[in-house]
């Protein structure tokens, strides 16, 4: 199974495509489908077929939503692919991956701490993972554009 199969699998879930610098393929995915994509990847290609590199969250205040980028690396080709999804800013909830992909732990905890995204099913989420205590006590999420810190 080559890299083409992996791309066609991601293609089947995607609702849009694009390119992220430097020439990384981008697949836009519905937030409800993200967990299903990873389940399908694990089922078809196994844990050795890819790894989750990082999760990047961005607050798009003007659009009223939060952008989540899952950076995955396809193995053994070592090709980086980006899975992008958008969740509403008022109710930022998405399914957790930590029970099927333990490597998602730090990315999910970081995104929760700095942006307030709730990963449903992750028992390790807490404030103060990265944010200093005074920011936590104010109840602010520092990477939100209107946090004021």
């Amino acid at each position: 199974m080559g890299v083409v199969d992996k791309h066609s699998l991601l293609e089947s879930f995607s609702v849009g495509r694009g390119v992220v610098k430097p020439s990384r393929k981008l697949y836009i995915i519905e937030p409800g489908n993200v967990r299903r994509v990873f389940e399908a990847l694990i089922e078809k290609f196994g844990y050795g077929g890819f790894y989750l590199s990082t999760i990047v969250g961005t607050d798009l205040r003007d659009e009223g939503r939060i952008r989540l980028d899952y950076y995955i690396v396809l193995l053994p080709e070592e090709e980086t692919v980006v899975l992008r999804t958008f969740i509403p800013r008022e109710n930022p909830v998405i399914d957790s991956l930590v029970d099927i992909l333990p490597g998602a732990l730090s990315g999910e905890c970081e995104t929760h701490d700095l942006l307030g995204v709730v990963f449903r099913g992750n028992p390790f989420l807490k404030r103060g993972f990265f944010a200093p205590r005074d920011v936590v006590e104010k109840g602010e999420y520092p990477l939100r554009k209107d946090s004021g810190v």
């Binding site: 944010a131 200093p132 920011v135 520092p142 946090s147």
Partner: protein
Amino acid sequence: MNQVKQSGRAEYRIIRYSPWLVHFNTGACNGCDIEVLAAITPVYDPERFGVKLAPSIRHGDILVVTGAVTKKAAERLKILYDQMPCPKFVIAVGACAIDGGVFSKSYSVVGGVDRVVPVAAYVPGCPPRPEAILDGIVKLLDLIKKGGVVNNGCSGQT
């Protein structure tokens, strides 16, 4: 002034010949850390000044701090500093350790090292050259010899 000079000479005579360093990163980008590590390689031969890394903070004489001090690292830096035996000195290496550098207004950064512990010498640069770091240490030793460093965090105890 005279009294400070004399007490400085008596207390610090031994450390002048073998200052042992402890290196601590309070949130640096690793640029300064690499230069600190380069400074203790045989290329720059720091042992001609008696400089070497201490095996533990409890054996250290000089604390070399790199990076902007984050709020979480500030607590650890204070704990480390309190564990050092007297007399003890702190060198802030790099622009970030001096006053926070480009991170100075971040929500998670306290500022420079001198907001947390008293600093005896500052080495500017982003990152400073290894020669500059060694030069800072030698200048600090000179200053100790002259009794110029009084704020060393050990008032009353030696």
